[in-house]
């Protein structure tokens, strides 16, 4: 099974979001970067599928040269091939991002075996556009579903298929369809492994394929970013250790939350 996994490089934010002076992006001078969380699980899912069924995991990202770090993170987890769709660091919208991924899928089909399955994260942690997977699927004519927290690859009379489940209004719903397909997964579908030492070494030496797709202006245009006004002030300290418990019980009583 040939699986492509789309990942995004996002800042690691800790206790506070700080914006640049022009309010166009996060001030990341002090932060590290990571693979967006749902996508880390997409990498793990793909690796697990190929461990069971054989095949190759390719990890694909669109971003600046530095996003090669995230490709290497995925290689260390078990991906075998890495593709960087290199940008000049500008923010890309979902339409252009999807077009660049579609070009990679077509390239892979022309030059090699082609992907049987494309896994994406449900939404990127930073922009939260919720649509790249569907735009890719629509352009390719492939089935697509999002929010998936349980995935089985099935064999049907007509070839490989997928049985995919997600939460729905307190219950669960199941989708079944044939491959190739685009499936967008959520954190919780698995527990990503820690990279092994041999994995890290392999990742460090691995070659990265590079392409330069074309940026395009989109109909949704960012003007600026802002941090919403805080609704709460600094907490009042009730006391220290068990001595503070009577005061705490008093507060809970006042709020009417005690049974």
């Amino acid at each position: 099974m040939e699986i492509g996994v789309c990942v995004k490089r996002v800042p690691m934010v800790g206790g506070k979001i700080v914006l640049t002076a022009d309010a166009q992006e996060l001030d990341t001078r002090m932060s590290g970067f990571t693979i967006s969380p749902h996508e880390e699980c997409a990498v793990e899912e793909a690796v697990q599928i190929t461990e069971r069924l054989g095949g190759t995991v390719s990890v694909i990202t669109l971003g600046p040269e530095a996003a090669a770090d995230q490709l290497r993170e995925a290689l260390a987890l078990g991906a075998k091939r890495a593709v960087l769709l290199e940008t000049d660091g500008r923010e890309w919208g979902p339409i252009a991002t999807a077009a660049a991924i579609v070009a990679e899928v077509r390239r892979h089909a022309a030059d090699g075996p082609g992907y049987d399955l494309l896994l994406c994260g449900n939404e990127a942690a930073d922009t939260g556009d919720y649509q790249v997977g569907f735009r890719v699927a629509c352009a390719l004519g492939w089935p697509c579903v999002t929010g998936i927290k349980n995935l089985e690859i099935t064999e049907t009379e007509t070839g490989a298929g997928a049985r995919a489940r997600r939460e729905y209004r307190g219950g669960e719903e199941t989708f079944e369809f044939g491959l190739p397909a685009v499936i967008c997964v959520k954190e919780g579908i698995n527990l990503p492994r820690y990279p092994s030492l041999p994995g890290r070494l392999r990742a460090k030496r691995a070659e990265i394929e590079r392409y330069e797709p074309q940026w395009q202006q989109e109909g949704l245009r960012k003007r600026s970013l802002r941090v919403p006004a805080a609704e709460r002030k600094q907490a009042t300290v009730l006391g220290t250790g068990a001595d503070a418990v009577p005061a705490l019980i008093g507060v809970l009583e006042e709020w009417g939350v005690l049974p």
Partner: protein
Amino acid sequence: MTVLCLAETDADGAADASLRALSFATGLAGGAPPAAVVFGPADHVPRDALAAHGAAAAYLIEPGQLAGYAPQAWARALAGLAAHTGAGAVVAAATDRGNEVMAYLGALTGQPMAANCVSAEPDGDGGYQVVRHRWAGLLLEDASLAGSPALMTVATEAVPAVAVAEPSTLAVHPYAPDLDADDLRVRATETAGHSSGASLATARVVVGGGRGVGGPDGFAPLEELAGLLGGVVGVSRVVTSEGWRPHRQQVGQTGTKITPELYLACGISGAIQHMAGCAGAKHIVVVNTDPGAPILAHADYAVVGDLGEVIPAVVAALKARSAGG
């Protein structure tokens, strides 16, 4: 100008998120009431709720043609309806279904789609000035949205459901979409019933545990306290990443968003992704050894101390209180 709003309904009525999206849509049309779009049998149309939240009409796509949820088919039907009505905007709640139907509608029509909007104003030029969530609402983006129709999903936790002063009588129009065979490839083959028991999303009290709990064996006192308070345990991302607790208990950007009366956060430092999940709590109390932890900037009260000492003392006090009362 017509505004269409996808309304997710079942035998129990309309989803609360869809009523919020309908209220959002009511504000978009410059006073003209929006039209709801309902997929399901005619007796599943929640006429009163839709009218009360501003709809004057509902387009009904009955299951004869389209049984079960099918994202591509729903998007195709919305595209047809948008063309049929000359809609200037199509909106849906930013649920799994809402986001994916609108994403596919954007792909089908080649239009941009703005996800998780909290407000939208016509810009006088056929488009909208929108405010939308990034980082699960930790950051707001001011953006301009072009597109005909303009496509938006609504961050419903930030948009209230508002009953209109004078509801219209809902006119229900059956609509038969023109579907391709491929549109039904992805379809929900089974939809399981609602789970029983207290759910994290709706619990009145949530007792949270983070790295400070120390390991998988440290949660028993939190479980006991949650039980005494009629609540449930929620955890931070580090707890699920370490495998100490199952992911379904995670509160945060990649877990569940909670809206309890009380969130008692124990041993949680307060990474902003966690705060994205608990910002909807009415009251937040922190138990933490570090009085400088970021979470104190988002809380009402704090007890500085080791949760291993504080939580058993709270449990004992609550037991003494109920025995005495």
